[in-house]
Amino acid sequence: MAEGAMPQEMGQAPVVERLRAILPQVQWEFVPTPNDPAIVVRREDLPHLMQTLKEHPDLAFDYLRCLSGVDHIDQLEVVYHLRSFRHGHTLAVKVPVPLEDPHVPTMSHLWQAANWHERETHEMFGIVFDGHPDLRPLLLEEGLGYHPLRKSHPLAEIEEWQEEFLEREEALVAAAAPPGARAEEDERAKKIALAQKKAEVMKRAREEARAKGLSGEEERRYVQEAVRRFEAELGQEVAPKEAPAPKAAPADRAAKIALAQKKAEVIKRAREEARAKGLSGEEERRYIQEALRRLEQEGG
């Protein structure tokens, strides 16, 4: 791979050598990175450096590939990736920016490509590009009030905080609950194991039914039989978790449907009566709830 080699020592990349020859007075620090040689320069040297990088015929960096902001917590940084079409070499220029004075001179007069990149970096990090013709927010709404990509704007922290909070809550609840409920954590694992066993039983029963030549309704009934046997074997482990059930729910599907239909009838009649009486809104709802409660008390 052509440009993959990482220069081992400082200044081995030819473009950096050229830079050193052309601009000896600029202080910079070489950072070895894969793919492109990178230099760290001071903010004050930036305009002159960029102008030379663009216009000097031996450097001729006419293409601004990428302009990013990075938040290093103690300082911000602007990184420019440049390429020269004439010579084919690339360069990354990194400029550290102090947090209390986040100003960097703009490069949009040299490369128009920088225009939108600088707008985006400004709204995401709060870095002000002096001299930019139009520093409105690009992706975010105006007047947001904060800079999202800064590390001080929490994303992970909120989630971590939430997780810790939830864990603390659960610990409190578990401590306050009677000792029987201590098995909460095991409950979930047990439920999962139970569901897996049930699935196994169903699968085996289905295969047996198919082998016997049953299909459709008969197959379903066969599978249901097997499941019922399995649950009977397990006995009390399959007791419903919500202990205070309002009434014994009918296990038969048809009975459930009949119950639901009865409920719907009751609701419809109650609504009509309420409307005939002139009730509306909250009162109408309460009337319907009354009717439902009466139905439940009558049993079903």
Partner: protein
């Protein structure tokens, strides 16, 4: 002087909002055009409607989870986006991707390029005013390619298949026959599409000579991909800064002459043919067996501190990922340099001075993907 002012016809420039909801803006994009009669005097693009904070979210994911965000950012050329990201991570880790995985990546990436260009043909044809015929033809081929991707990755669009170090799993057994079928089918479809659109007189009348761009302007404005090659610059990252195994393949780089809308269309049409050539060569050279994932990767990838800017040639241009890592299992900064973002930033230069009807065509010829622009 006062008399002259009295007799001048006072006209007001009309502000037209080619709004977020519009059949022709390829997504949720807003252009505020200031129009004098039929000519556009000013253009202010407003983006950000699809901004979902992919870069920030990626800082909270570990290195394998972030692949999903790359998919959703560049939703027409997903493999290229995943590839760039995986290249960045592999570069920092110093991983060597096994041969078979490289070939799989090349095949899928190039077919993804074809699919993306087919989508462009369909959408661009609709913009220019075809009643939907190129759209139907192009999508028939795209369906074939998406079927193929579904057979390999299980997904029609958000593949999540490339991983740092290789690909997630090996390809199915009928990969080669299926791929050859796809190549044949798509090749014929591309010729049909070419016959329908390229020499069409009305199409030429609309697109020829519209918004030409000089090479210097193109480089200054940050163009890449077909927009840049249409201006005559023979720059393709697969040749200029080869990544993966692209130096083993023989393909041409189509260029245009004057950088106008028609040239951009021609470049993309020819690129589809060249991509199919690459896929054929890759199929022939691919090792029949072998690992598809690099050795020694742990369950959690921890990348040593460093930074890298990796870039690939996506269908829209140069898709770059600037990855800064400070050790740990999550990226510190993941900046996505998307081609459509940079190409779109020059919209004002391209559109001003043309007619309103042409503004839509110019926008279509840039081939934007809003999620990539907004991330």
């Amino acid at each position: 002087m006062a008399l002259q002012q009295e007799h001048e016809l006072e006209t007001i420039d009309l502000h037209i909002n080619v709004g977020p909801q519009h059949p022709a803006t390829h997504g949720v994009f807003r252009m505020i055009l200031t129009v004098d009669g039929e000519k556009v005097v000013d253009c202010d693009p407003v983006i950000g409607y699809m901004h979902r904070g992919a870069e920030k979210l990626s800082e909270n994911c570990d290195y394998r989870q972030a692949i999903g965000y790359q998919d959703r950012t560049e939703y027409l050329a997903q493999f290229n986006a995943e590839w760039t990201y995986c290249l960045a991570v592999e570069k920092l880790l110093g991983l060597q991707v096994p041969e078979r995985a490289e070939y799989i990546r090349v095949i899928l990436g190039e077919l993804n390029r074809v699919a993306s260009h087919l989508m462009f043909m369909g959408a661009f044809g609709t913009d220019v005013g075809f009643f939907g015929t190129p759209f139907m033809y192009a999508f028939r081929e795209r369906e074939v390619i998406q079927d193929f991707f579904e057979a390999v990755t299980g997904e029609r669009m958000m593949y999540n298949y490339f991983r740092p170090g290789g690909v997630a799993w090996d390809v199915p057994d009928d990969f080669e026959e299926h791929c050859r079928y796809v190549i044949d089918h798509v090749r014929r479809g591309v010729e049909e599409l070419d016959a329908l659109m390229t020499d069409n007189e009305v199409f030429l009348a609309r697109c020829r000579g519209l918004s030409p761009v000089t090479p210097e302007e193109a480089i200054n404005w940050g163009f890449s991909g077909p927009m840049l090659r249409a201006c005559g610059i023979k720059h393709d990252l697969r040749r200029a800064e080869p990544y993966s195994i692209y130096d083993r393949f023989d393909f041409e780089i189509p260029t245009g002459t004057q950088g106008d809308v028609y040239d951009r269309y021609l470049v993309r049409m020819e690129e589809m043919r060249q991509s199919l050539r690459i896929v054929e060569q890759a199929l022939r050279q691919m090792p029949k067996q072998g690992p598809v994932m690099a050795e020694g990767l742990k369950r959690t990838i921890r990348v040593p501190p460093g930074e890298v800017y990796s870039r690939t040639e996506s269908p829209r241009g140069e898709y770059g990922v600037y990855l800064v890592s400070k050790g740990g299992d999550k990226p510190w900064r993941l900046k996505i340099r998307s081609a459509a973002f940079c190409n779109l930033s020059a919209l004002k230069n391209l559109v001003v001075g043309n007619y309103v009807a042409d503004a839509i065509i110019i926008l279509g010829s840039i081939d934007i993907v809003l999620c990539e622009v907004d991330r």
